[in-house]
Symmetry: C2
């Protein structure tokens, strides 16, 4: 399903991922449609701004409307009117970060209680992890649910995305070394169970388009654990790999480098939840092929837009009379048709279209950035393009 | 600026209103873009769904971003990326209904205080009307402002719509007969002042596209006052007429009939704030040419959609698995691409696109209804079309 094109000496490469719903030219930024909808933007503008695929969240769609309903609708792409390639994540991140208690856990860490103590204790209000799976409370109504590798595979088969991810355990940088080791063992065993269940379900649902399962490499900030995790997953037959978990920004390139060093070159690698320009350069340079992140959409809703100089806030009073586009060089629909003064007004007036127009701009900015990096790798001008972009851009 | 086409024996007619930004085939429903934006829908989908013109509110745009800013942007149409014909209302309705105290006034009526007592008293928290104009508090920040006929004309010239309205006083059905008479005298004098100021400003701003000023007929539920108001305005040189003020639904046809009976046939008539299907039939039948109403958009945001049977709520649990469009006969973008099950999910998940998709459907429904009435008048099949539509539709 993956063909490698040009390569950088650092391990970065271009390529093409083939899916039943079309090809993805990589590196590619995959916008997030958490609940089978990109917040405030319909599928057509997403296609027009160059999105090649969308990623939805298994956790959210399981809770609402229910993955059985999405299955009856023909999968999340058809449900939302998107006919291109699709991804779903496994829910592993969300059951621990949203499902209950992760924020609380981090707060408790600060007071000297380690994160694993709290998770291990299994207090009523927290998500609890055991060797079989994770029990958690819905962030919507507090109801109790349980995800296991098999449950996650069942949900993701119902959601019907072209690329799906193995169910993994999210740890934090504050978990102890011992906990990270135990967690990693568990994630490896879960990966095996996911593969088995995925094969079983694929046979059972053979009339539906084939789905490709990616294993997810955890291991936090530890080189030996990251390498061990990557080697462990490499020994299994995954169609591709996700790189997940707690990664401090300044170590991103290093950690990604350890992992891609161990992974096979002929399988695509997805860096989960990463989308800031400087991080995309780091990830791509070290061999990641696809990326997803809610950031372009989330910051747009709080009136912040990407420009070649960095993020700017349209709500500043200085925007009131700026009758010019966000970025005169931008080729997006918003910059072609609207001024900063108008967008400032929409945010002040709390109009829905403010979110729509700024999300279109931000998603286009990030999608185009990755497209240009891809072209630069193919043209042999990557180093120049990176120096030029990052020379002007302040994170 | 107005050419009459076919006519009904009841006074209804088809026609064409010519503006500097294009023609409007009448009768026509004009969707509302209160703050220079149709809530949750961009201009392109509005054009695609058949909207011929948009109407913005002088009161809202005066307060935010300020009509001077809209003027600098080239008028509200250009500001929001809409190149078709535009209307603005005068702010007369909003300064009394939103500006402060109108709700309160109505509440006090119920306790035996008449609305005019409260308005006349000029209590601090209320809008106060005097012969010169209206002083009111902003609903946004409580700041004090004053609208006069001259101020309203100045604002509407800055907003730059093709069709603008004279500044009038809104009364309620609970105002005393004596107050209605005094108010009507005032509205007539304000109409004269608006015309004078409009002519002065038009000469001063002669480089800009010509704007057409419509007088507004008030008179509440009283036949003699409505007729007197219409005759009074007819004696002045207005390009067209608005019909405004307090009208009980069951008397709509009767009241509109009194007014259009007095108005010249060669000028267009706009029925302000009316947009429910049954009211559109009544208004059109009695000679109204254009209509505006926030209703299609407002009810869409609360998950209610128009169908040939009446309004239905997509949030009902029965929608969860209805994998079919809102209305299989509807030709809108939403019905062509989305199911009730998906829209139900979007409302449950509080996704912005729920409002977008249902507003597109509702605006299309109402725009198309008026278009079909127009065709039926031209074809001589109006009575059949009305009987057929209202026979199935429950308000």
């Amino acid at each position: 399903m993956f063909t490698v094109g040009s390569q950088l000496s650092t391990g970065g490469r271009t390529g093409v991922i083939s899916t039943p719903h079309g090809d993805i030219r990589t590196p590619a930024f995959i916008p997030v449609a958490t609940r089978a909808a990109v917040r405030a933007v319909l599928p057509e503008p997403m296609r027009e701004l160059g999105a090649q695929a969308l990623l939805a969240n298994a956790y959210h769609l399981y809770l609402q409307p229910g993955s059985d309903i999405v299955d009856e609708a023909g999968g999340f792409g058809r449900f939302m009117g998107w006919d291109g390639p699709t991804f779903t994540d496994s829910g592993g991140f969300q059951v621990l970060s949203l499902g209950a208690g992760f924020q609380k856990t981090l707060a408790m860490d600060a007071k000297g209680v380690t994160a694993d103590d709290v998770i291990a204790e299994g207090k009523d209000r927290l998500a609890t992890v055991d060797d079989e799976g994770v029990t958690f409370k819905s962030h919507l109504d507090g109801s109790r649910h349980r995800f296991t590798p098999e449950v996650s595979m069942g949900i993701q088969h119902q959601l019907g995305a072209d690329i799906i991810f193995a169910f993994d355990e999210l740890t934090t940088l504050m978990n102890s070394r011992g906990y990270q080791e135990r967690s990693l063992d568990r994630t490896q065993r879960w990966a095996e169970r996911c593969l088995t269940e995925h094969e079983r379900l694929s046979a059972e649902r053979s009339a539906k388009p084939a789905q490709a399962l990616f294993g997810v490499v955890q291991g936090a900030q530890h080189e030996d654990l990251r390498r061990q995790a990557a080697r462990g997953l490499r020994s299994l037959d995954f169609a591709g790999y996700g790189i997940g978990g707690a990664i401090e920004k300044e170590n991103l390139a290093t950690i990604v480098g350890w992992v891609t060093d161990e992974l096979p070159d002929d399988r695509p690698r997805h860096l989960l939840g990463i989308g800031e320009p400087e991080d995309l350069f780091a990830g791509i340079e070290h061999g990641c092929d696809t990326f997803d992140c809610v950031q372009p959409s989330r910051v747009a809703r709080s009136s912040r837009v990407y420009t070649s100089r960095g993020k700017e806030n349209l709500l500043v009073a200085a925007s009131r009379r700026r009758f010019e586009p966000i970025d005169p060089e931008c080729d997006c629909y918003t910059c072609a048709n609207y001024t900063r003064a108008y967008l400032h007004h929409l945010f002040k007036a709390k109009e829905y279209n403010a979110a729509t127009l700024c999300t279109i701009h931000n998603e286009r900015f990030i999608v185009r950035l990755v497209d240009r990096i891809r072209d630069a790798i193919d043209d042999g001008t990557y180093a120049d393009y990176k120096a030029d972009f990052l020379g002007r851009y302040t994170p």
